[in-house]
């Protein structure tokens, strides 16, 4: 890590700034952060809904669905990218061709980050005492109020840490994107692919500078999760003392 910062600072702060603000690097970083933000938001909603359904509803094949959620963790990302291209590419059997577009990038990122929020919210929902919700209902709270005032505050730390992980993963993702994004500079080149192309082209300072930006994003995410965890465990400790 230190070597990375060292390499990027060789040219001085000015050199670093020049590389990071070069139009192509800015476009790549913007795309990565933007797509990751979209993906994180979608995950916050969809992941919570899936976790809710898996915990609270009974339906045939539930345990199979529960296991399939982990598929993106088990499947090599390059395979995920290739198959998404087969599904949504030029020879798509469902008639959708989004290959080499930003839509394809978001789709691929959604696929690889799907399990994060589900897996952080699920355990919290399982532990959650239904009595609280029933108490709220018997006191005349509407379903919406029960959700926003009772359920949501309990699962919010879970959702947020899942979203943070999904965001970090989406910003740095490469395997599933190399094939499906087409890596067109300024259009569909994400930051990680930009770094890889720079390394292969021998431009180490350029690669290192953008990598440092990603490194900072990663640290920020870890710090955020650490703070969340701190609050969550303090909350638990307070409950136990009572």
């Amino acid at each position: 890590m230190a070597a990375l910062v060292w390499e990027s600072s060789k040219e001085g702060a000015g050199g670093f700034w020049e590389v990071v603000t070069s139009p192509q690097a800015v476009a790549a970083l913007k795309l990565s952060l933007g797509a990751a933000a979209v993906v994180a938001l979608v995950n916050a909603v969809v992941g919570t809904v899936i976790a809710w359904v898996l915990v609270r509803d009974e339906f045939p094949g539930k345990s199979i669905v529960n296991s399939i959620i982990d598929l993106p963790f088990a499947l090599p990302t390059i395979v995920a990218g290739l198959t998404l291209l087969a599904l949504y590419g030029p020879t798509s059997p469902v008639g959708i061709n989004v290959a080499f577009t930003r839509t394809a990038i978001v789709l691929a990122l959604l696929f690889v980050t799907l399990p994060f929020v589900v897996r952080t919210v699920q355990p919290v929902l399982l532990e959650l005492d239904k009595e609280m919700e029933e108490a709220a209902r018997s006191l005349g709270a509407s379903e919406r109020v029960v959700f926003t005032r009772v359920v949501l505050p309990n699962i919010l730390p879970g959702i947020l840490s899942g979203v943070a992980l999904a965001f970090a993963r989406a910003v740095g993702e490469i395997g599933s994107l190399v094939i499906i994004s087409g890596s067109l500079p300024y259009k569909t080149e994400v930051a990680s692919v930009y770094i890889l192309t720079r390394i292969e082209g021998g431009d180490r300072a350029g690669a290192a500078a953008v990598a440092v930006v990603l490194l900072v994003v990663s640290f920020a995410v870890i710090l955020g999760i650490g703070i969340l965890r701190h609050f969550a465990t303090r909350h638990e400790a307070a409950l136990e003392e009572r």
Partner: protein, 247 residues
Amino acid sequence: MLIGPLAMVFWRTFEHGADAAWNALTQPETIHAFKLTLLIAAIAVPLNTVFGVVAALAIVRRRFPGKGLLNAYIDLPLALSPVVVGLSLFLLYGRDGWFGGWLERNGIDVLFALPAMVLATVFVSLPFVAREVVPTLREIGDEQEQAAKTLGASGWQTFRRITLPAIRWAVVYGVVLTTARCLGEYGAVAVVSGRIQGETETATLRVEERYDSFDLAGAYAISLVLAVVAVLVLVAMIVIKPREESG
């Protein structure tokens, strides 16, 4: 959305007949790529298993300065882009990197060779065992360990007879996740391997190389093998999870 891709790989692989798929899989470079991937996993998984258990024990059972750092360090590979990991290794071990000059004078190949690829894989698959074992250790508490110690058991005996049996399924689960990640790693390995065909090309890199060479049948055939492994991993997870939860 999740099943579709798998069915798709299957269909695309056998679109041109089983022979085409078989030919693609038995090319010497492809066989070498699979062997290399397995070799890297065979080195990285045991290393990370030992590290994961030791780190988890340290985090849960001990208090020491820098504990927060170790905790953060274990999360780092999850949040960090594998390309950034690869680049860091590249800058450290490359010809004019920090260790690169010394290594070159002593005739040791690290970059574009097995050692760097193992290092990269070890780093990205580092967290899984520790993250599975930490909650289990918290759950079981240390009363039994204390009891064993008062009865005169040594540290190693306590670990082997008391702690290890209690965490074994968590360890196995972590190992399964680690293995999946090792076999499927792309980004970090892509940077440090140099992708020399028949030498430093792993299975995932081979998929991309076949795709770029317009050999789609080959790319899909290798993908199918990797996807089958992924499904086996899922099955293993289904089998292990209930045991882990019941202790």
